[in-house]
Every structure is written in C-alpha cells, then in structure tokens.
Subunit: 203 residues, 2 copies
C-alpha cells in the first residue's frame, strides 16, 4: 500500500472513530463537522472529501451493523432445527444485538431514513440499500422454502409475500421498540408476532 493510500485509510478511520465517539457523547445533531475535523486533526473541507454529507456517516455505521446481522443469519441457516425456531432464533438474536445499543440504533434508523429520501433516484446508496433489503428477504425465503420441503409450512404459500410479512413484523417491532421510552422487550414482542404469522388468526 502506497503512502498515499495509507494516509487516506488513516484519515478515513480517524474521522470514523472520532465521529462515532462524539455522536455517542453528545448526539448527532449536537456534534458539528467542525468539531469532528478539529478532533481528527484535519481541515473542515477534508471531511467532505471522505463523506459527502454529515449524515452519510450514519450509512457507514449502519453497514457495519448489517454485516454482523448477515453473519448471524448464515449461522442460523446451517443449524438443524424446526424452521420456525430457526427464524425466531435468528430474529431474536438480531433483536438482542440491537438491544445493546438502542441510542445509536435510533440515530442510524431514523436519520438514515431522511438520507434515503433526499438522495436522488440513481444514487448507489439507494440501490445498495435495496439490495440489502432484498438479500434479507431472500434469506428469509430460503428458511421458508426449507420449511415447505420439511412439511412445516403450507404448500400453497407465496414465499415472497410471506417473507415480506416476516420482515414487516420484524421492522415494526423494531420501530415500536425504538419509539418506546420504557425498556419493553423487543425480542419478546417480535416472538409473539412470529407465532401469529405461523398460526394465523382465522378459524
């Protein structure tokens, strides 16, 4: 690695670390780019050579988290257990992982939303996000297909719709939990809703 690339990586990492620390300390809104750059020992303009906006930093934090989640998922998939349990375990593991750092997650989730919207249609960020979303749903689909094969899930079900429904439950529980001030359990709530998806409410 050339000196140039080394320095580049260095600067990028320093911005990343410093901003992560400051966001946790003082919150996203209360941290200025000036502070970040001062703390990181660079000029303000330099920041924008690395990250197009202050908010875009959050994307990178989010990617970090999501990489970890996919690794959990792949672990679960290789286990030998009833599909319902595997899905539940997977989503509960994700939930528990999130529960560790609610505040940062709030930032990531909600600030991120705005970013998604303001970015133009062609933006790679938007496409990437879409891909991640699809990957998530596809993996849930794989779980479900296995369930069909093992006779644990009805044959006629549209797996895409079903996976999206699971995804919906998951995200909604997440949002509810993020909004709640009390420490109601994300994982318990979600678990109950997965039961509903499996068993249905109709007679």
């Amino acid at each position: 690695m050339s000196l140039r690339e080394k320095k580049k990586q260095d600067t990028r990492n320093r911005i990343f670390e410093v901003s992560g620390k400051l966001f946790k300390d003082k919150g996203f809104e209360n941290t200025t780019v000036d502070e970040i750059t001062k703390e990181a020992g660079i000029a303000k303009g330099t920041f924008f050579n690395y990250f197009p906006t202050k908010e875009s930093l959050l994307c990178y934090f989010k990617e970090h988290k999501e990489a970890f989640i996919f690794s959990i998922m792949e672990n679960q998939m290789s286990l030998n257990a009833p599909v319902k349990e595997k899905i539940k375990n997977f989503l509960v593991l994700v939930a528990e992982y999130y529960e560790k750092d609610k505040e940062l997650l709030k930032l990531l989730f909600f600030e991120h939303k705005r970013l998604i919207m303001s970015s133009d249609q062609q933006s790679t960020e938007k496409k990437q996000r879409h891909q991640r979303q699809e990957r998530f749903i596809n993996m849930l689909s794989v779980f479900l297909r296995e369930g069909v094969d093992k006779g644990e899930i009805k044959k006629g079900i549209d797996l895409k719709i079903a996976s999206e429904s699971l995804n919906a439950i998951y995200f909604h529980s997440l949002i509810i939990w993020l909004h709640s001030d009390t420490d109601s359990s994300f994982s318990r709530d979600m678990s109950a809703k997965i039961d509903i998806i499996f068993e249905g409410i109709g007679v």
Copy 2:
C-alpha cells in the same frame, strides 16, 4: 372571534397554503422559509411564531391526512360484513387514498421520522403521535374482537399482538411502496399479506 385571533388564523392558513403549494412544486428541501414568508407576505421571524421549525409544518399536513383516515375507519366499522373483509377494505381504502399523492406522503412519512426523533421526550408532538398510533391499533382491535364474537377469528388470539401485526403489515407495505420507483400496487400487496395474517403459514 377578535380581530387579533382572526388575523392569527389568517396568517397561519396563508403559511399553510403557500408552503403546501411550494413543497409540491419544488420539493421540501428546495423550498426555503424565506420563500414561504415572502410569498405569504410576512417577515421571516413571523413564520417561527407559528411553526417551531420548517419540518414541523409536515406534522400539520400529516394530521390533516390522518383525520381523514380515521373517518374512513369509522365508516367501515359500522358496515355489516365479514371482519376480514372489513379490515381489508379499510386498509385498502387507506392505501388508495395514499396512492393519490405519493410524493407528499413520502415527505410526510420520512421527513416526519426525523422530527419525531429529534423532539425531546416530553414533547406533546411525540405523545400525540403515540396516541394516534394507539387509536389506530385499538380500532383494529375492535374489528378483531367483533371477529372473535362472530366466530371468524380464533378465540385464543392476543388481540393486541394481532392488531399490531396487522399494523406492521400495513406500515411495511406502505414503506416498500414509498421506496419503489415503479408504481407497484400498494393495496394489492397489502391485501395478500392480510391473507397471511388470517390464514397463517404453518401447517
């Protein structure tokens, strides 16, 4: 109504109208408070006497929309039909109503999120939102209870969890649809997912 109150209402309405027009024309981000106030014939500071932030305007737009939705819901509730149909009809009506004005809704939904997060814990806005959410879920609960009474829904079901699941499906379909560039149908997607909630995917 005194002259003072009259003028106040007038100014408030003018800001509301002008900003709605400008947001639709040029988008939320591209509309400045300066423009709004100039168009409305007031000074910039005056704007902030009526709305604490530019984003807070979106809340008021949203309230408008939501009032309408609750009225649809109450209509549906009084009908005589299978509960599943009533819920479906209700949610599809909401969906169709939304489909009319996707762009504004995007603004309302996503920009709004950020607002929610940045507002402090005690804020009335946050409480109000929570109440609306609860009201929505409670009304779904009423539908479901009727279903239980009429023998259309299993007896053992936790109605709160079930309502929240329906709510989750609804919101998720909404989000997916808002993100999609293509005009995939929000209402059709949601309808399929409601079937899943009723029938379950397990054998």
